[in-house]
């Protein structure tokens, strides 16, 4: 089992790199937070120097982000074969797939899991949902027909650690399990960026918990433009060969 850390900055590894095989760097949810080429190269070199694998994570994008990614990928051309790429937008996939990244992984946003914490009760034993329906709510795009993922050159799917459990059979490719922060929903509305440009990137200040227990069985967390849940219990899943630890939500 590989263990990776998804970090905002290499300082997150200041305490030591034991038991870590690689780093995730980048952003899943906001194109205004795509790191600069200098930051990417800096963190890539840090990974290389420390014998760690490097995974570049790219977010959902508009044409603004697409233009930025095109320039970024172009500047990374000489080293992209040593990087894995996680894409969370099929537009980003369309830019990246002709390049020679070491591998392409379908990000959490596109893995299409159902993440609603209420599913812990909605599909609990004794519910009226048929067995195949219960299984469906635990699945992801990794359970698509295998030949399709292969045709698209996708070798990995990034998944959340669902509170109601993950389906662990018939996975066409290997999966990376993120913990403890699982995303539920997102929007393009925030207090900066799209609704009030230019973005000043202080969306971390716009964070709160949302509590509606017992209707929603756990507290939710609102950071910037994303709603998260938290699940620190790591299950054993044979389809998962990589754990991705997020010390904090990266938005």
């Amino acid at each position: 089992m590989e263990r990776f850390i998804f970090m905002r900055d290499k300082k997150a590894l200041a305490g030591g790199k034991e038991n870590i095989q690689g780093i995730y760097y980048g952003n899943e949810f906001c194109e205004y937070h795509i790191p600069s080429i200098e930051q990417i190269i800096d963190h890539y070199e840090f990974a290389e120097k420390n014998g760690l694998k490097f995974v570049l994570v790219t977010p959902l994008i508009s044409d603004y982000g697409a233009n930025l990614l095109r320039k970024t990928f172009s500047r990374l051309e000489s080293i992209c074969s040593k990087m894995e790429l996680v894409f969370n937008d099929y537009g980003a996939y369309h830019i990246a797939h002709s390049m020679k990244f070491k591998s392409l992984a379908l990000g959490r946003i596109l893995s299409r899991q159902k993440r609603d914490p209420r599913l812990t009760k909605f599909i609990s034993p004794g519910s009226k949902v048929p067995k195949f329906g219960v299984d469906y709510f635990k699945k992801s795009v990794a359970n698509s027909p295998p030949q399709f993922l292969k045709e698209f050159g996708i070798s990995r799917v990034e998944i959340d650690n669902l509170l109601h459990g993950n389906f662990d059979e018939d996975c066409a490719v290997s999966c990376s399990l993120y913990y403890p922060w699982g995303y539920i929903s997102m929007s393009r509305w925030c207090h900066g960026g799209l609704t009030n440009p230019p973005c000043n990137k202080d969306c971390c200040k716009d964070s709160c918990t949302l509590d509606d227990r017992p209707i929603m069985p756990v507290e939710l967390y609102h950071f910037g433009n994303v709603l998260f849940f938290k699940n620190s219990k790591i299950p054993f899943l044979k389809s998962v060969d990589r754990l991705v630890y997020m010390p904090e939500p990266i938005i």
Binding site: D116, P130, F132, I184, S185, S187, R188, L210, E248
Partner: protein, 319 residues
């Protein structure tokens, strides 16, 4: 003239909605065996209520026949963002059957399924659903290369972005925009809340007790005075219309506007059709964009019994 894409659920609705100005119909028929195997909450077309579904193949054939008599094409929604391997056993024969019945197209979101089916059925129209989450031109290229013939743009795309995408793709893809009954604040394609299990208010609209968090470390919950705990929904803003953008849509080449509402009874669908048709007629009555905006404002006031605010617009013009 910009077209109107209208939901239909029963054959008896077709003639009335066609006379009211519908140019395209979309509906949802569920494959045989699906409900027994997966239940309603895992619906194959994103509508968990049975009332939203066409009641069987016979009525679906009637919908096709009556619509085609009015020269109106019919799309069946098959827009789950993901179909798993076991679901293909039901989906593929279902598509074969609907194509043989004469369906004109499908509204689809799963790119793998799209690629497979568009190669098999080259004369069928493949409209990408908002569940496809198309927010940029590269994604338009992506789906087009897989065989898409049209794209329904998510309501979270801005007016400026719509105009830009339209300038690049309106000749090669049918671009469609929602104008009523959608929530443009979240991105539907990427919302992973579950629906269809109970009748309670959807999670994005519920009121939550909210406490601010310290921004330094998200693992530290800061104790705050109870006076700072507020009740708020997960989604603050709920705009009510995209019809104020109709002039811009027509000018930039948007093919059709659409409203959500397969679950509405016929009478409500008629009200929405009347509203949209009236708004569309204002396009011909207006000599300029400003004139259209003014006339639409009066229509909005008449319908909603209050003046329109910028927050009401799905696609506000951003300065």
């Amino acid at each position: 003239m910009i077209k109107i894409e209208c939901p239909v659920t029963q054959s008896r609705e077709v003639k009335i909605l066609a006379r009211m100005g519908a140019d395209i119909f979309y509906c949802g028929l569920i494959p045989d065996g699906w409900l027994d195997k997966y239940g309603t909450a895992a619906a194959p077309n994103r509508k968990e209520e049975l009332v939203s579904q066409v009641k069987g193949k016979e009525d679906f054939k009637k919908i096709l026949a009556l619509s085609h008599k009015e020269n109106i094409p019919v799309y069946n929604t098959l827009n789950s963002p993901m179909y798993t391997l076991d679901q293909y056993d039901l989906v593929l024969p279902f598509v074969d059957e609907l194509v043989s019945m004469g369906v004109d197209g499908f509204i689809i979101a799963d790119p793998f399924l799209l690629k497979f089916l568009s190669l098999k059925y080259k004369s069928i129209r493949w409209m990408i659903s908002t569940m496809g989450g198309v927010l940029n031109a590269e994604a338009c290229h992506f789906y087009k290369e897989l065989g898409a013939t049209g794209i329904t743009l998510p309501t979270s795309v801005t007016l400026e972005e719509i105009k830009d995408l339209s300038s690049r793709f309106s000749r090669s893809l049918d671009l469609v925009a929602f104008v009523l009954n959608e929530n443009p604040v979240g991105i539907n394609a990427y919302c992973a809340f579950a629906h269809g299990f109970d009748d309670s208010i959807t999670p994005c609209r519920r009121l939550y007790h909210s406490r601010p968090l310290g921004c330094k470390s998200c693992s530290q919950v800061v104790d705050v005075p109870s006076s700072q705990v507020v009740e708020r929904p997960a989604v603050y803003i709920e705009p009510s219309t995209g019809l104020d953008s109709l002039w811009d849509f027509q000018e930039c080449g948007i093919c059709a506007v659409k409203f959500s509402g397969r679950f509405f009874p016929l009478e409500e669908k008629m009200q929405y059709m009347q509203y949209i048709s009236k708004a569309r007629s204002l396009l011909e009555e207006s000599a300029s964009r400003d004139e259209f905006i003014k006339k639409y404002g009066l229509l909005f006031h008449h319908i909603h019994k209050r003046p329109m605010a910028i927050e009401d617009s799905y696609y506000p013009v951003r300065s």
